[in-house]
């Protein structure tokens, strides 16, 4: 039996530096590694000794695409540690910020990173010749996501306006009213994009049963904030016990940790997981889009994650309009910032980021300085499942006659990309000694 390797040294169209390395014996895969070779930046250790006011400005820089999500998770964790409850208006504005971040992130991934795979292009730039209107719309949608982040967070990447206890400057009613109209205007072309994506076949070789994990949204609607970690297997754990439910471990070939549940099972977090668990809570055009893109409900195939992100984009636009309306119902003000007294304590903040469940935890001393910090990212949670899917689909494809290494590579890339990995996020951490 001859042994050979298939290697993708540097994955394209993903955020950060990673590759795939596969060893085959004949038509059997013996080793499947997703190599993460992005350098570590040790953010959790860098935060030690910093004042709680400074945490957000530092931890947001773990990752650019998810900077608003890290911001909200960090602020919630710090506020829990300090025993503060923010106002309804602050909460609404943070909800709007999370929608903006998801619209930008999903538009980028669906149209610029994933869709070229399905349509046979190497990038969104080369797609523009054949699909000029669609590409122009995708970029406009992405820009709208960034516009929301600029209005609420002060800029598109690494928000500055988002503080422990509130906001430095509240957006004017005029700005939010105009945003509400911008949002309404993308609904029609967005439905067109749903039609386009629903017409693209999704290959079956990646289909296999998967365990999904997502926070249960507060209230009765779909959403990105919750207090209970739920699995598609029916298990439920409060966010406070995340350290018990999410077991992180290190592997040789990756600068990012991997994760599994207490049971040892690997799992998926992200859009597909959220739709699997809570898709029946969608309303309006999002519900219709869910029906169009998932006529049989969510089925096990990670390549459907791109469709799930598109459904969530529709949800985010509709939900952002609602947040604008709730915001406009409050009396106009310039700032909203609670006085915060430093005190010792620890707190956890968990949210659903575009790529899945994100946990932040901080412990503060009497002066409000950080004693310890911990961040568990969606990508780190997904990595073990990515490898499992690569192995399965590799085996599946090798059963088919005439599959070349080029075909294998392309399929592996499609799977890795479907998870929308955010590699910068995943390697922030401190690698413990072996």
């Amino acid at each position: 039996m001859t042994t050979r390797t298939v290697t993708i040294p540097h994955l394209g169209r993903v955020e950060g530096h990673g590759g795939i390395h596969v060893t085959l014996e004949g038509a059997r895969l013996t080793e499947v590694n997703m190599d993460i070779h992005e350098g570590s930046r040790y953010y959790e250790k860098l935060l030690v000794g910093k004042d709680f006011h400074e945490v957000q400005g530092i931890i947001t820089r773990v990752c650019a695409i998810c900077s608003a999500d890290h911001t909200v998770a960090a602020l919630v964790a710090l506020e829990n540690a300090l025993g503060i409850r923010v106002s309804e208006r602050t909460s609404a504005l943070r909800g709007l910020l999370l929608r903006g971040a998801a619209i930008e992130s999903h538009a980028l991934h669906v149209f610029a990173l994933a869709l070229p795979d399905f349509l046979g292009f190497e990038s969104i730039m080369s797609m523009a010749e054949r699909f000029p209107d669609e590409v122009a719309f995708a970029l406009r949608l992405k820009q709208l996501g960034n516009h929301i982040q600029s209005i609420v967070g002060g800029r598109a990447v690494h928000p500055i306006n988002t503080l422990v206890g509130g906001f430095g400057r509240l957006p004017s009613h005029k700005t939010i009213d105009s945003l509400r109209r911008d949002l309404a205007q993308v609904m029609d072309p967005l439905s067109g994009a749903v039609e386009l994506v629903s017409s693209i076949d999704v290959p079956e070789w990646a289909a296999q049963p998967t365990l999904y994990v997502a926070l249960r949204p507060r209230g009765s609607d779909f959403g990105f904030r919750g207090d209970v970690i739920c699995t598609s297997g029916g298990a439920e754990n409060p966010v406070e016990d995340y350290g018990q439910s999410v077991r992180e471990f290190t592997v040789e070939h990756s600068n990012a940790r991997h994760a599994a549940l207490e049971t040892g099972e690997t799992y998926m977090v992200g859009s597909l997981a959220r739709l699997k668990l809570w898709g029946d809570r969608l309303h309006g055009v999002a519900e219709e889009s869910f029906g169009v893109l998932f006529p049989d409900g969510v089925t096990d195939n990670v390549l459907l994650n791109t469709r799930a992100q598109l459904v969530e984009t529709v949800y985010c636009v509709e939900s952002a309009v609602q947040f604008c309306e709730s915001y406009l119902a409050f009396e106009e003000a310039e700032i909203e910032l609670q006085e915060v007294e430093a005190r010792a304590g620890s707190g956890i903040g968990a949210i659903e980021a575009p790529r899945g469940t994100l946990f932040h935890e901080y412990e503060l001393d009497d002066d409000g300085k950080v004693i310890a910090a911990n961040v568990v990212t969606p990508t780190a949670q997904n990595l073990a499942n990515v490898e499992r899917d690569l192995r399965h689909s590799g085996d599946c494809l090798l059963q088919t006659a005439g599959v070349s290494d080029t075909d294998l590579k392309r399929s592996f890339e499609m799977i890795a990309r479907a998870y929308d990995p955010c590699i910068s996020c995943s390697v922030h951490l401190v690698r413990p000694g072996r």
């Binding site: 860098l46 004042d51 820089r61 122009a136 960034n146 800029r155 690494h158």
Partner: protein, 265 residues
């Protein structure tokens, strides 16, 4: 221009970092297709799969710090390939937040042993890309400003370089007549030490400057430290705040030992 192609050949690269500067290029949404018409982007792993990793480049943009041996290899290769090399973002220009690790003891960062393949071998200190090879232009910012990036591209296409704001954030803040974060709010604002070009965005939102664009030319650190200390702000807080984005400069101030003593107390 290094190559003889009708459109300049361009590569966009990232070392260790958050990819925020590459994202800011993608964030030029309404200008992206126009950029593609004028530039032949032949190597950009974050956005394309059909990349030429060997060809000569007229212009290359690179973000991030050198944190691993692999980063250093990548950087050297890009330098060799590029006619005009631009450092984008505070990490590449100054070291940014990743350089904060340099002041912490190594064992604090990594636990006891780490046996890694050569791929992961870390260099002793995370340092800005500009410390290792010569650069033709430095575009700072965390992340870079969209407008400054577009101005740079326009200028380079015209065979020149842009005149970007060289004033401190403090100056931009004064021209906006914003209330001073130091005088009126007793905050550690880095605006007087930090290069402008952001239009004093943070003070405009009622937030002190964190220094994210890196130092302005000839910053007067000593005077700033004294100004903060005179207002009763603690050494520990001043050190922690200034270290965040001014790490390389902070080291050379001779205050490193003082900061370490305070931390160990």
């Amino acid at each position: 221009m290094k190559t003889q192609h009708p459109k300049p050949r361009v590569g966009i690269f990232g070392l260790t970092g958050c990819a925020g500067d590459q994202l800011q290029i993608l964030n030029c949404e309404d200008r992206l297709l126009e950029l593609v018409r004028e530039l032949d982007i032949v190597d950009w792993v974050m956005a394309k799969t059909d990349n030429d990793h060997d060809c000569a480049l007229d212009i290359a943009f690179i973000e991030g710090v050198v944190a691993t041996e692999l980063d250093l290899q990548r950087l050297r290769t890009v330098r060799e390939r590029a006619g005009f090399l631009v450092a984008i973002g505070t990490c590449a220009v100054w070291g940014g937040l990743p350089a904060m690790r340099n002041s912490l003891p190594k064992e604090t960062l990594r636990g006891e042993a780490d046996t890694q393949s050569d791929l992961f071998a870390e260099v002793a200190e995370a340092r800005p890309a500009t410390d290792f090879v010569p650069f033709d232009f430095r575009l700072t910012g965390c992340p870079i400003e969209r407008g400054e990036f577009l101005a740079l591209v326009r200028a380079v296409l015209a065979g020149t370089t842009p005149e970007l704001a060289a004033v401190p954030v403090c100056w931009e803040c004064k021209t906006r007549e914003l209330p001073c974060r130091v005088i009126f709010h007793q905050e550690i604002c880095c605006g007087a030490m930090t290069r402008g070009g952001c239009g004093a965005r943070c003070p405009g939102h009622g937030v002190a400057c964190a220094g994210c664009r890196g130092p302005v030319e000839e910053p007067n650190y000593d005077a700033n430290v004294v100004m903060f200390a005179d207002r009763g702000l603690s050494w520990r807080d001043i050190a922690a705040r200034m270290r965040a984005f001014s790490a390389p400069v902070w080291m050379s101030m001779g205050l490193e030992e003082e900061a370490r003593r305070i931390r160990d107390d």
